[in-house]
């Protein structure tokens, strides 16, 4: 039997603000437990929450970026449950009037555009962390994270597979970073994801009569793997003619499997009711418009701009913008490149200029990215400054170094942070573009290779052999374009 997976994701994003959601404690991580706390976030008697305006503003930024309907008014509610990491015994969240209503996120999966519906994105507070010391019969609680603003983004059950889920998550992460509202680092828990997974027969349109909630996935890989696991597990149950039970399951990374955490019967009644300590929020249109105006450039807009402004192919532009820091870096290289040209009075026509920008993009996406990956560092943390990067592109563009030699130079730049012109000297890799020198070598090769000359005259494709010989003569540093030109000229004469 063929089944179609029906997947909805609940993504929690920690918002980057100066203070916590409802108190003035610092919103910051710390290795020392219980330092960023106060009487409010530890729920001392008599304390009251006060809404963090910046967190609300950032939530609206996300809402706007996801094309959500921004509420005219929103309120907070209490979600009641007991746990030591939840000091008040209730979490302040939003139940029926969230800040952001329905929206859409369009993703590209295998060159297909897919619109994933957003159900809502609401604001709440994070809980603390439990620590279980090895071999001890007690647990400890760290409240540093308690009360940190958390935006929960709930998707419609529009996702149809693990790859779509992965791309959706990565795109959300990317948008958070473009907006500057969160570092959205999954490994650090800034971005957390739960998945609701069910399956229906291919061709059916109704939602399945059950769903399985999967928790504890701490990386993109884990999300994809857990979904794959569930698809297989649920298909087997369906194949037996049964309906998988509605339940909450947890992903266990080490086993590569999900395990049952609690059944539907054990599901909690959170007894939501309106938070009486906080006023209802009314959003003025002018404020929303102001936030909209100040919204930073988002990945799609940047992609379009890269295509238009730099003549980049769609695919390159898409790859660049899907990693904000890399596209920022690329733009810095482009602007430094133009500065080099201006400073040295080098002029290219539009076509050549575009070719060089494409070259820069190839280098950023190619060797630079692979070196970054090898070292697991971010573009901003590399030793290669955009200025030096741009200089290398300029040296290639002006024929001072061959692409091949440039690879060695770049590797060294990446290692030491030295500038490329010095490296070119010290590594003896400067390209020979001196026509006199090249002509001497060309003449010598023609004299010494009568057979090669004959072949080349009969078949222009055989010119390569002679080019190779000249290059050898010039110890591999000859400018191939000039060698080609001069060889052709000499052979004709």
């Amino acid at each position: 039997m063929k089944y179609e997976p029906i997947i909805g994701l609940e993504v929690h994003v920690q918002l980057k603000t100066k203070s916590k959601m409802f108190c003035s404690s610092k919103n910051a991580e710390s290795d020392i437990p219980n330092v960023n706390i106060c009487e409010v976030c530890t729920a001392q008697p008599g304390t009251l929450p006060v809404i963090n305006r910046e967190a609300v503003r950032k939530s609206i930024m996300v809402g706007l970026a996801l094309d959500c309907q921004i509420a005219e008014f929103a309120k907070f509610d209490r979600k009641n449950y007991f746990y030591p990491d939840l000091p008040k015994g209730y979490q302040i969240s939003q139940f029926d009037y969230p800040i952001n209503g329905k929206g859409t996120l369009t993703i590209t999966v295998n060159n297909n555009e897919r619109a994933i519906g957003i159900t809502r994105a609401h604001l709440e507070e994070d809980a603390g962390k439990l620590v279980h010391p090895e071999g001890k019969n007690y647990s400890l609680v760290d409240y540093n994270r308690t009360g940190v603003p958390l935006l929960e983004i709930v998707s419609e059950p529009d996702i149809r597979g693990s790859e779509e889920a992965r791309v959706y998550l990565q795109e959300l992460q990317n948008i958070m970073r473009y907006l500057g509202v969160s570092d959205a680092d999954m490994e650090k828990g800034h971005l957390r994801c739960d998945a609701n997974i069910s399956m229906r027969k291919q061709g059916e349109t109704k939602l399945p009569p059950y769903k399985v909630e999967v928790k504890n996935m701490n990386s993109f890989k884990a999300v994809a793997a857990a979904i794959e696991f569930e698809i297989k597990r649920q298909a087997e149950i369906l194949d037996e003619g049964k309906t998988p039970p509605q339940e909450t399951r947890g992903w266990v990374d080490d086993n590569g499997a999900t395990v049952s955490m609690r059944s539907k019967e054990e599901s909690m009644d959170y007894r939501y009711f309106p938070e009486p300590d906080l006023p209802v929020l009314h959003f003025e249109k002018t404020w929303i418009d102001e936030i909209r105006r100040e919204l930073p450039e988002l990945p799609n807009a940047r992609k379009e701009r890269f295509i238009k402004e730099y003549n980049l192919p769609e695919k390159d532009a898409r790859t660049l913008v899907s990693y904000k820091a890399l596209s920022d870096y690329f733009e810095a290289v482009v602007s430094e490149f133009d500065e080099w040209l201006a400073a040295e009075h080098i002029k290219f026509d539009a076509e050549d200029h575009a070719k060089h920008l494409k070259l820069a993009s190839n280098w950023v996406l190619g060797q630079f990215s692979s070196l970054l990956n090898q070292k697991s560092i971010n573009p901003g943390d590399s030793k290669v400054t955009p200025e030096n990067f741009a200089e290398l592109i300029k040296l290639i563009a002006t024929g001072k170094v061959s692409q091949l030699a440039a690879k060695d130079v770049f590797a060294k730049m990446f290692e030491t942070g030295e500038d490329p012109s010095n490296l070119l000297e010290s590594m003896g890799l400067a390209q020979v573009s001196d026509e006199g020198l090249i002509l001497d070598a060309v003449k010598k090769v023609i004299l010494e290779n009568p057979k090669g000359v004959e072949d080349a005259k009969a078949n222009p494709k055989a010119l390569g052999f002679l080019v190779g010989q000249v290059m050898k003569e010039l110890k591999g540093k000859g400018n191939p374009q000039i060698i080609n030109e001069l060889l052709k000229k000499e052979l004709l004469s």
């Binding site: 001392q44 008599g46 006060v50 030591p84 209730y90 300590d277």
Partner: protein
């Protein structure tokens, strides 16, 4: 007259004119506590040394000429209001050894005026009750009859002022917890408009109903203290930025042309006959002062008690979840986390508190929320609207504060419903958010005091003080418990 019978206004005048020192004044009150509190039990903790040190500082200020109208005035604080460094038990075993880590906003505001805190007063556990019988540390006695309750839940504060153990006291009022004990103890008790006084530092009971109020001997004293604690607070988002007028300057001696409404729903059957007589006489005093008495109607008031006993426990059930034995307060061990919760809360919380937590959890649980909590919120709007409509016709309203006289210990504590009915004249104001004051209006044949409740529109406390002051002056009731 003993020194501890003094009013705030008089004490302030004497201190300023150096007719008495703050140390003498405070020492007199501390002595009074020593004399009478064994029998009254108004206090849960007394801070003698701190109070005397504070009094000396006050004397320094008076000498320097940097004193305020509250400088050196001894006062008491209900134990659910936090005073940094002082115990704050809220009458509960679960907080028996809890020391407040910060000052409530009202305390901070008072401290700006350098009064002297004598101690923290007894109360029904977490302010749940009408008699202080629900205190984990034993009840407070009514200074007028030690066999009777002082009312509650702020019974300790009311009794302390009545017994001359403090010049003024702070309490909290969620359904009548300031006004009813004020009436029972023959003192003035104010419940402000919801949002008029910061709740920061007041242990939450019913968050949408709670307000901190003031006990004093006279209406004028009450106005002086209230002017100091009223106003918005950035730490309480439900406190509103309405300007705070100079209440004392707005006091009146007559009530010419003032329209006074008698809500007919508050004058039906089931009232103690003697109490009714005292209230009717009080209304005649209003007439003599030139007020125009009119009957008004608050048609939904019969639902107020039901609405209150849904909304309040729902809020209570969440507000008291923080007392879980994890971070502070009583913590009893267990084999599992659940056992820790179970053992701690079973042992630490009293039966009335548990009852309300259960009612609240029930009324807000899936399947019942719409029928109870949501319905209650809807009716609450109607009740509020009743008051708004009535105040289009009259300037203030008057009612008895309580339909009954203080009862004997144990008389009602067996039957929670009987106890809940005690709030019948007071809860409507909390549900609607309007302010009210209880002013002593006479005594019964057995010498027990009766209180008259004056009600004003939202944020019109000055009307309570103006009319209450005029009434008090005209009545000239001189009562004092024999202790």
């Amino acid at each position: 007259m003993e020194l501890t019978d003094i009013t705030l206004k008089e004490a302030s005048r004497k201190l300023a004119s150096k007719g008495i020192s703050a140390r003498e004044l405070v020492a007199a009150f501390l002595n009074r506590v020593k004399q009478v509190d064994k029998s009254v039990h108004a206090f849960l903790s007394v801070y003698e040394n701190e109070a005397l040190a504070c009094a000396d500082e006050a004397d320094g200020r008076i000498l320097d000429g940097t004193s305020f109208s509250l400088t050196g005035i001894p006062y008491a604080v209900k134990d659910c209001i936090l005073v940094k460094g002082a115990k704050a038990t809220a009458g509960s075993k679960i907080l028996e050894n809890y020391i407040a880590p910060y000052d409530a906003t009202v305390i901070k505001k008072l401290k700006d005026q350098t009064p002297v805190m004598i101690g923290k007063t007894n109360m029904d556990e977490f302010a749940m009750g009408s008699s202080t019988e629900n205190s984990a540390f034993g009840p407070t006695k009514n200074p007028y009859d030690l066999d009777r309750v002082p009312g509650g839940s702020s019974g300790g504060s009311a009794a302390a002022v009545a017994a001359g153990e403090a010049i003024f006291a702070l309490g909290s009022d969620t359904g009548g917890s300031v006004r009813q004990p004020a009436a029972f103890c023959g003192v003035v008790g104010l419940k402000p408009t919801y949002g008029r006084v910061s709740r920061h530092g007041l242990m939450a009971m019913g968050s949408s109903l709670d307000q901190i109020g003031v006990f004093s001997k006279t209406v004028e004293d009450c106005a002086i203290v209230f002017g100091q604690i009223a106003g918005t607070d950035e730490r309480d988002s439900t406190s509103l930025p309405q300007p705070v007028p100079d209440y004392v300057n707005l006091l009146k001696e007559d009530l010419k042309g003032i329209k006074v409404g008698m809500p007919k729903e508050y004058f039906g059957d089931g009232m103690d006959k003697e109490v009714r007589k005292v209230i009717e006489d009080s209304i005649k005093v209003f007439e003599r002062l030139g007020a125009i008495i009119e009957e008004v109607s608050l048609p939904h008031s019969k639902y107020a008690l039901s609405v209150y006993y849904v909304i309040m426990p729902v809020e209570v059930s969440a507000n008291l979840s923080r007392y879980d034995g994890i971070r502070y307060g009583l913590s009893l061990p267990g084999q599992t986390l659940e056992e820790v919760y179970y053992n701690t809360r079973s042992e630490g919380l009293g039966s009335e508190t548990k009852r309300r937590i259960m009612i609240g959890a029930y009324a807000s649980s899936a399947g019942y929320y719409d029928a109870y909590y949501k319905k209650a919120i809807q009716v609450r709007r109607l009740i509020r609207q009743d008051f708004v409509e009535a105040f289009k016709k009259v300037d203030i309203m008057v009612t008895p504060t309580s339909p009954n006289r203080p009862w004997k210990f144990g008389e009602k504590s067996k039957d929670p419903l009987l106890m809940y009915l005690e709030d019948i004249f007071t809860v409507g104001l909390n549900v609607a958010g309007v302010p009210g004051i209880s002013v002593p209006s006479g005594v019964l044949e057995d010498g027990l005091p009766v209180g008259l409740q004056i009600i004003a529109p939202h944020f019109a406390e000055e009307r309570l003080f103006a009319s209450g002051h005029a009434f008090e002056k005209a009545l000239d009731l001189k009562i004092k418990p024999k202790l």
